[in-house]
């Protein structure tokens, strides 16, 4: 790859200094970078408030945005993510680019009425996204 790089350096003219801002633009993170977005719902919107007594509001959050081409520690992405990007860019565009998905969650306590009329307090795992990653 070093030799290929030297050859390509000889071919490609050095970027003229005056469009440095464009030059650096390619390193900026994408405008709509992958990040955590707020979303709040109330169970009455879903008509679930007949059996979900608490909490009244629930913020599951979600991850959305583009993954930068070379993802680093910012996302805690494994090296595989970069491999997948290279495959997409250089080998086979039908392989999807890395996606912006939740990496960590927090639990949620729910108070519900069961079909038999009994009442249950339950703590469910992984109900609120708290961190995003590119995978």
């Amino acid at each position: 790859s070093r030799q290929r790089r030297e050859e390509s350096l000889r071919e490609a003219p050095a970027a003229p200094p005056h469009n440095l801002s464009d030059y650096f633009k390619q390193f900026l993170f994408p405008q709509n970078e992958c990040e955590l977005h707020n979303f709040r719902l109330s169970f009455s919107q879903l008509k679930w408030d007949k059996w979900i007594i608490a909490p009244h509001r629930y913020s599951p959050q979600y991850c959305k945005g583009d993954c930068p081409r070379v993802v680093g520690h910012r996302y805690g992405s494994p090296v595989h993510t970069m491999v997948q990007n290279i495959i997409y860019e250089k080998l086979d565009a039908s392989v999807p680019k890395p996606s912006c998905v939740p990496a960590e969650y927090s639990p949620l306590s729910v108070l519900t009425i069961e079909p038999d009329g009994s009442i249950v307090y339950k703590e469910y795992e992984d109900m609120i996204a708290t961190k995003c990653t590119c995978r």
Binding site: S1, R4, R5, S8, L9, A12, A14, A15, Y23, Q26, F27, L46, W48, K50, W51, I53, A54, P55, R57, Y58, S59, R69, V70, G72, H73, G76, P78, V79, M82, V83, N85, I86, E89, A103, E104, Y105, S106, P107, L108, S109, V110, L111, T112, I113, E114, P115, D116, G117, S118, I119, V120, Y121, K122, E123, Y124, E125, I128
Partner: protein, 300 residues
């Protein structure tokens, strides 16, 4: 493991038809991979609503019996103590339960209990149906929850003696239940506006719940002596306490994947993999090839 799957699916509210049933009637959910089915079994209403087929029949097929208002008030109070307004479990909880189930007694086989007690024997037969407890929920503590509506404020301390006996109810012959074993213990508490009294029956119910007993039949005798029995004060003739049949409260540890296990909450703070320095990963060069001329500047 199969056993867990089996245990969970046969404890659900029966919406998963038995696999041996003729396939075209098979509930579409049974075609889901096991893991999802297990999840589905534990969060039936949530996920049923998300699956289109479930939408219409879920609302129709699960008529909900309305819970007792006192029980509801108690559980809302328990919720406020256990979670924040947003529903996040409070970290300072020292106990390990992640599930609390409150059952009100079924109506069968209950002696007509007198509403207002004259401070004397309050005897009631209780039948609790525990079908909702799954095989993955392990009992940590169980209590009988009495709610007292003291219409006459009772100032002094009160000692109540509670006799409990579990009955083996032979449903087949409808013979009157025979007490199989019983326990008696006394409670001493101050009435002072106390709304609830919890009678710990864990050791009593543990063996029954551990053997997956679905119907718990017990006779409870409850006698309250107002005033301090040591000074053998005259038992006040009218302890104006309306004793309503107690609810059964089960503190459980749900060992399923969907339940939150606070002692391994380290799992939540998953270590972000330490990212090797760019130059150490051969792939970084390869990736950099894309913008060939920028390798040096990037290194810089």
């Amino acid at each position: 493991p199969h056993s867990r799957d089996h245990a969970v699916s046969d404890k659900t509210s029966g919406f998963l038809v038995a696999p041996e049933d003729n396939p075209h009637r098979l509930n579409p959910l049974l075609r889901l991979p096991k893991g999802v089915r297990r999840g589905y079994a534990l969060l039936p209403p949530l996920l049923k609503v998300l699956s289109d087929q479930g939408r219409q029949n879920w609302e129709s097929e699960t008529p909900r019996l309305q819970p007792d208002s006192r029980a509801l008030r108690y559980m809302k109070r328990l919720y406020k103590m256990s979670a924040t307004k947003e529903g996040i479990p409070k970290a300072n909880k020292s106990h390990l339960y992640n599930t609390v189930r409150l059952f009100t007694p079924c109506s069968e086989c209950k002696h007509r209990h007198r509403e207002l007690m004259k401070g004397d024997l309050h005897s009631v037969d209780l039948l609790f149906n525990l079908d909702r407890v799954t095989a993955l929920e392990h009992l940590l503590k169980s209590v009988l929850l009495y709610s007292f509506d003291t219409s006459v404020p009772v100032s002094s301390a009160t000692t109540c003696v509670c006799h409990l006996s579990i009955k083996e109810y032979d449903f087949s012959s409808q013979v009157c239940p025979s007490a199989s074993h019983s326990i008696a213990f006394s409670l001493h508490f101050e009435f002072r506006k106390r709304r609830w009294v919890e009678v710990d029956v864990t050791s009593f119910l543990q063996p029954l719940i551990a053997t997956n007993r679905r119907n718990i039949h017990m006779a409870v005798n409850f006698t309250c002596l107002v005033g301090d029995p040591q000074r053998n004060t005259e038992q006040e003739s009218s302890l104006n306490v309306a004793l309503v049949p107690p609810s059964l409260l089960l503190y459980l540890n749900d060992t399923s994947e969907q339940a939150y296990h606070r002692w391994n909450s380290l799992r939540h703070r998953r270590k972000i993999p330490v990212w090797p320095k760019q130059r150490d990963t051969p792939l970084a060069d390869l990736a950099d090839d894309q913008g060939k001329e920028n390798t040096q500047s990037k290194r810089a």
